[in-house]
Structures are given as C-alpha cells and as structure tokens.
C-alpha cells in the first residue's frame, strides 16, 4: 500500500479507467499473440476433434484394402 496517496495526485475518474483499460488492452494483445502464434487455440475453437479421433481408426482399418485394390490395375 505504498502508493495509497496516488489518488490525491491522479484523479480517480482518469486513473481508474486508464488502469482497467490498460489491463484489458494487454489481455487482448496477449490472447491475440497466442492465437496468431499457436494452432491449439484455433483448434479448440474449431472443436470437433473428439469425433475426428473416433472416426480415424475406422478409416485406418479400411485403408490397406482400398490401396491394394487401386494399386493392382495400374501394372
């Protein structure tokens, strides 16, 4: 509380909005930076990964058969 006299110098109706606005702006910038530099926030927003994972094994099982079928006529 060593700054408790600040509001005798800085008008609260100016200082408080500035302080809260700065926190909000910083938060937006950091979230934007993480969104821009990673893929997992976009993936989280995209969602639907759990269905894709469930589906993937099913496709994997069929894959070899279809490959063989397609490969043989090519010779």
């Amino acid at each position: 509380m060593n700054q408790k006299e600040i509001w005798c110098v800085v008008n609260p109706s100016v200082g408080l909005p500035l302080f809260l606005g700065a926190v909000a702006a910083t938060s937006l910038i950091v979230h934007g930076a993480v969104l821009a530099n990673t893929d997992w926030i976009a993936a989280y927003w995209q969602g639907g990964k759990s269905e894709k994972v469930a589906m993937a094994p099913a496709n994997a099982a069929e894959m070899p058969a279809t490959l063989v079928a397609n490969a043989s006529p090519a010779k």
Partner: protein, 53 residues
C-alpha cells in the same frame, strides 16, 4: 457538498488521504481477485492445452 476548504483535502485531486487509501485498497483487492482468476485460467491452459508440454 464536500467542504473544498477542508485542510485534509490534498490537491490536485482534492481527495483526503483516507479517501485515497480506501480507493486504493479496493483497487488492490480487485487486482488480487483478477490475479487469482488468471492463475486458475493458466492452470487450465497448462492442463488442457499443448502449452509447455
């Protein structure tokens, strides 16, 4: 209307030291609540996202 000639008022804002301290106390309490929520959010991000793994 507050007495503007009150010797306890400190200028330029005209608040008394007690008013300034009371306001600052609320600001610090609010910042602590914000900090606690932020720590919890970072914990969730660490657990459920690839961050730092």
């Amino acid at each position: 209307m507050a007495d503007l000639n009150d010797p306890n008022r400190v200028w330029p804002t005209g608040l008394t030291l007690a008013e300034s301290e009371e306001l600052h106390k609320h600001l610090i309490d609010g910042s602590r609540v914000f900090g606690a929520i932020a720590v919890f959010a970072h914990l969730l991000a660490y657990i459920y996202s690839p961050w730092l793994h």
